[in-house]
Amino acid sequence: MTDIDALAARLRAAIGARQVLTDRQELRTYECDGLAHYKVIPALVALPRTAEQVAAVVRACAETGTPFVARGSGTGLSGGALPHADGVLIVTSQLRDILEVRPEDERAVVQPGVINLHVTQAATPHGYYYAPDPSSQQICSIGGNVAENSGGAHCLKYGFTTNHVTGLEVVTPDGERVRLGGAAPDAPGYDLLGAFVGSEGTLGVATEVTVRLTRLPETVRTLLAGFSSTDQAGAATSAIIAAGVVPAAIEMMDALAIEAAEAAVRCGYPAGAGAVLIVELDGPAAEVAAQFDEVSELCAKHGAFETRIAADDAERALIWRGRKSAFAAVGRISPDYIVQDGVIPRTALPAVLRRIGEVAAEHGVRVANVFHAGDGNLHPLVLFDDAVPGQASRAETVSAAILDLCIEHGGSITGEHGVGVDKAKYMPRMFSDDDLDTMQLVRCAFDPDGIANPGKVFPTPRLCGERPGRHQGTHPRHEAGVAEIF
């Protein structure tokens, strides 16, 4: 095991005494990310202020075989930034400069600790914005977004972080600084940028991010429709998609989620609704006007009993407030809850929602449903009271059953929160051993010693065998299976 005192001394010399924390009280601040029921106190926290300092910290880790975990704002919901007890936590929040805003190139260059919303704020005066908008966008960092391939409400139309990052400077787990991609698209060679985004800190630390800026739309129109059931709201969603409309967002909340949101922020959603849909269209005015009429008609046709159209930005904000506050709002109606994140094909929505209801009833647990209906990304909130013996484990059972439902219907165990430490054990349900082994070939290329965020994403680490570049001959397992060659 690493001599932490010696490592701390080395890091203090490299990045400054005040940038290295070893005091147990100070370390406790970093014991968890947004998934607070996993807690580990790191051996050491490093707060580098430059990319070169990040590289120096990683080099020190590599040379001493010390595990490291990168952390941005710590808002992740899968325990991706959960520290390693014997390792270094590299906090990127002091790398927080917006280096370039170039509307003429539709690009911005930022450091990893920059807050997501600040990129949009820097670009807005020029008529541009940064499209990925996770609900935590007021506090989450771009570096964290890169690690998690964060989504948001508007990714139905605009895609995810991976579609909006064109270049990175990363520190690889051996401490090298490498550029992947750039300001221009289609950099020649393997798309290591594409592999890095969403790799949850297991391939290295991003130290500079070049993002695509998107032109602010001419028009944004938002509609809130109340339905008596999620079935109706689901049918309306399918009809909108089938009509060839691609809204910027289609969000759904069920009765319990509406109740929580009302209690928390008094968003004034239609009384007595079994489900609400928020549909947002954006783009050129003429297009939006035509499609908005179509969407309103389709909602009415599928049973919307009340439809509200935001007349201005304030009304739009009110409609969104209910949705964006939903996770926290559930705290008003339940002392404890699990936020689940799974994906199903959009067409399976009614069937899966019914089944979630049944499973919840079987276990005597309430589930509030909030989700990105347009792309089938469910966020069921499983409610429980930890003070009542047995409730927590029943909630866990229901939460796990929901993921099984997602897999059963050909979906995914995570749409945007990531695998992290929380869902590594579910990976074999979605992928075969060979699939996971193949992903880890990339891991071995970047991090043969497995020191970058170990224990995350993969349930079982792969032994990387010989050092990369010296591996000759074919896979040994395979060698055994093809005797006829000899």
Partner: protein, 396 residues
């Protein structure tokens, strides 16, 4: 060699890659057979061939024993219209995917190109401005690794962050990491209406379109020596919306609205025996890049909205006064000029194709960031360096 004999046949006259003949060809019928073939072909140098529309892109293979033809791995496995996705076998012609009922795979490619080949070559066209490229549209993939292992990544839903996004790694890998046998794509609705605006206008005016509120699906430039540069803009959407926007674009550029694209739309600007170069750069540098290329005698086309251009140079074959050596030197000089301009623009110049004799003398890929990491990835996937050896960056 029993299995190999069963699954392969002797190569014919056409079974060559950039002039390098193969000994054997094979056309597996499904993923399982493809895996058996790759397993049996252990030790052989392999190049994968789809519709062969881009087989000539890249340097010739260092060695070649076996061509794996994917065209029997064809057909749409699933089209889930309500979910806007399709599952297709790799050898499926793109023509089939451009015309799914009411929906489309919005990836420009020649009709005879295959889905797998289009992904492997990371080919794209004008509509990338709106829909992105293969990396944005591919949501799941099945690959037979060079050791014969069948492996999947991604899935059948668009929103999915479970595990590494290996689809992106295989996209544009030119078949150096394994054999793609199945792809899952995100689809888009076929727009109700489409119109083009064509204008004689300098590339600089493309910025006006980008800064406006036209939501163009494509913004293409066409320029060459001795001709006025042109811009063409594709607008898609509702009939009324498209008419309105097209009229506004036409007024801004001083152009004309047309129901048809110009003749040069999505046509590579190089002659069959010419040099074709892909140029990328910052959007603001597109005019400078076009000017340099035209100055070097090239015809340039491509997306002024995405910063991806294609330059075509004719290599004079017939002129009796020019020696083969001189032609080679001239082509090399032109490529160096384009490459320097692309680097100044923040991008790259990659030679996609060149005539025999010239091809061998060019550094087709040019300098690449992160090459050491790329070599490590290759070593992990294909330690014997048997898949498309020498065809990729840095001799990978």
């Amino acid at each position: 060699m029993g299995a190999l004999d069963e699954l392969t046949s002797p190569a014919g006259d056409g079974d060559a890659v950039c002039g390098v003949p193969a000994r054997l060809v094979a056309a597996p019928r499904d993923t399982a057979e493809a895996a058996a073939l790759v397993t049996a072909a252990r030790g052989l140098a392999v190049v994968i061939r789809g519709g062969a529309t881009k087989l000539g892109w890249g340097p010739p293979p260092r060695e070649l024993d076996l061509i794996i033809d994917t065209r029997r791995l064809a057909g749409v496995v699933e089209h889930a219209a309500g979910d806007l996705i399709t599952v297709v076998r790799a050898g499926t012609p793109m023509a089939e995917l451009h015309g799914l009922p009411g929906q489309q795979l919005a990836l420009d490619a020649p009709p005879s190109a295959t889905a797998g080949g289009t992904v492997a070559a990371n080919a794209s066209g004008p509509r990338r401005l709106r829909y992105g490229t293969a990396r944005d549209l591919l949501i799941g993939i099945t690959v037979v690794r060079p050791d014969g292992t069948i492996t999947k990544a991604g899935g059948k839903v668009v929103k999915n962050v479970a595990g590494y996004d290996l689809g992106k790694l295989y996209t544009g890998a030119f078949g150096t990491l394994g054999l793609i046998t199945e792809c899952v794509f995100r689809l888009h609705p076929v727009p109700a209406a489409s119109l083009w605006v064509r204008a004689v206008a300098p590339p600089l005016h493309a910025a006006k379109i980008l800064a406006g509120q036209f939501a163009a699906s494509a913004l293409e430039v066409n320029a060459g020596p001795g001709a006025e540069p042109e811009l063409a803009v594709l607008l898609e959407g509702t009939a009324a919306g498209v008419r309105e926007r097209a009229a506004a674009v036409a007024e801004l550029l001083g152009g004309e609205v047309s129901p048809e694209p110009p003749q040069w739309w999505d046509v590579p600007p190089w002659p069959a025996d010419g040099v074709g170069v892909k140029l990328t750069g910052r959007l603001s540098q597109v005019p400078a890049l076009v000017a340099t290329a035209v100055g070097a005698g090239a015809t340039v086309r491509g997306s002024a909205g995405a910063g991806v251009l294609y330059a075509g140079l004719a290599v004079d074959q017939g002129d009796a006064g020019v020696t083969a050596d001189q032609r080679t030197v001239e082509a090399g000089r032109a490529v160096e000029l384009l490459r320097a301009a692309a680097v100044r623009a923040g991008g790259h110049a990659v030679v996609l194709t060149a005539p025999a004799g010239v091809r061998e003398t060019l550094d087709m890929w040019g300098p690449v960031h992160g090459l050491a990491l790329m070599r490590r990835v290759k070593d992990q996937f294909d330690p014997g360096h048997r898949f498309a050896p020498g065809r990729f960056v840095g001799g990978i």
